[in-house]
Symmetry: none
Subunit: 229 residues, 2 copies
Amino acid sequence: MTAVLVIEDDDRIRLALLLALQDEGYDAVGAATAEEGLRAQRRDPADYVLVDLMLPGLDGFECIRQLRRDDDVPIVVVSARDDTHDIVAALEAGADDYLVKPVAIKELTARLRALRRRARAVVGGPAVEPVPVLAFGDLEISPDAGEVRRDGRPVAVTRTEFRLLCELAEHAGRVLSRQQLLQRVWGYDIGDERLVDVHVGRLRQKIEPDPATPRHLVTLRGMGYKLQR
Amino acid sequence: MTAVLVIEDDDRIRLALLLALQDEGYDAVGAATAEEGLRAQRRDPADYVLVDLMLPGLDGFECIRQLRRDDDVPIVVVSARDDTHDIVAALEAGADDYLVKPVAIKELTARLRALRRRARAVVGGPAVEPVPVLAFGDLEISPDAGEVRRDGRPVAVTRTEFRLLCELAEHAGRVLSRQQLLQRVWGYDIGDERLVDVHVGRLRQKIEPDPATPRHLVTLRGMGYKLQR
DNA sequence: GGATCTATGACAGTTGGGTGACAAATCCGC
DNA sequence: GCGGATTTGTCACCCAACTGTCATAGATCC
């Protein structure tokens, strides 16, 4: 059965969603806080996660980022706030869809089905499907395969380096500030920005032909880092 | 460049969408009917398709089904109708997302990016998100990339110069007083206005073919500076 | 021609980023 | 569990690049 995790602090709404989803044939479980939800998803991963934005403690955005960090589960935001800023921020954080309360259960399930078509394409599909690769000149990154190659030869990078690289690759050509990187790779709200420098330095040692004069992973003084061709 | 096909019969809306998407760095093309859109997509497949539901002749639902029949392109419905029935029907027909007019362009592009994360896995999909560029003749400024180009060649500018340039570019064609620039670039309420001169001068050295007779970054004596084509 | 506004070169103080060293934390084979 | 290897985060130092100030020269207006 398809399992859905509903992270929502309002008991009435959570219950209503759970019942409606169960009516539609889903195996729905609830969590009242982000922390609880994250724990539940780690323990027993659902096929979809519904998350509210305004949660006590860890808020929805942070919750999304943390979910996304170690899971590719489709995430749908269900929020009372109908504000472009929130929508963009939630999607940037890693959400797949954003619905404004009150939601029609039929629409919700239709959107879940639409998401499944895409999500399933990743895991299922033909066995010999070409692994998606982001290429930057002589540099190749396969986020799904967890692999980095230079000139076709595999390069051993650590997990943190890999996440950092993926984050930069995902936004190739754009500057990402140290803050943004800390936020997206480490999930820190605040923290020592120099940490990013160190990992960028280490990454350069591995992926740049000449680490002293980076060609791909470049510094924009005062702004941040970016990955380019 | 990432291509978007916009299928929408209302000329005004189609044009507005095309312009907004082009501003965001997409290669956007339009079609006024479903038939025209289908033909365009077969001839020269875009990376995303935006489609209206109420189209003359073949309607949006049918259009989606036909697109879906021979293409896995992400499809986003942009419709004036905010009705659960329509939403469910469109998603069932094969659409990936559904937005209600009027759409915020920032939300639209955020949703396209979110879709890309999912779609990428299928066929390699669109590579990386395009980076918006402001163009002034031979001068290109890309706020997101933190990059300035002249005649296509990158120009190294410092952070302050870059901010100054972006501020001027954002209000292209309009005079900005030294006060305004100080306020917006430096955040000073008061301060030495000469400071602006110095940075304008440095910027000219870098972006003007002949810094002594500026063509883009011009002085309006007694008023301030402006950036023009 | 004088007053006012702008351009620019020089300079010193400051900032920002690269890097190596090191200790804590984590992983891994046994 | 245990011990070594690897990874991770913190720190401090150094250098290069950047910034703001000032003085002077040049341009423009009336």
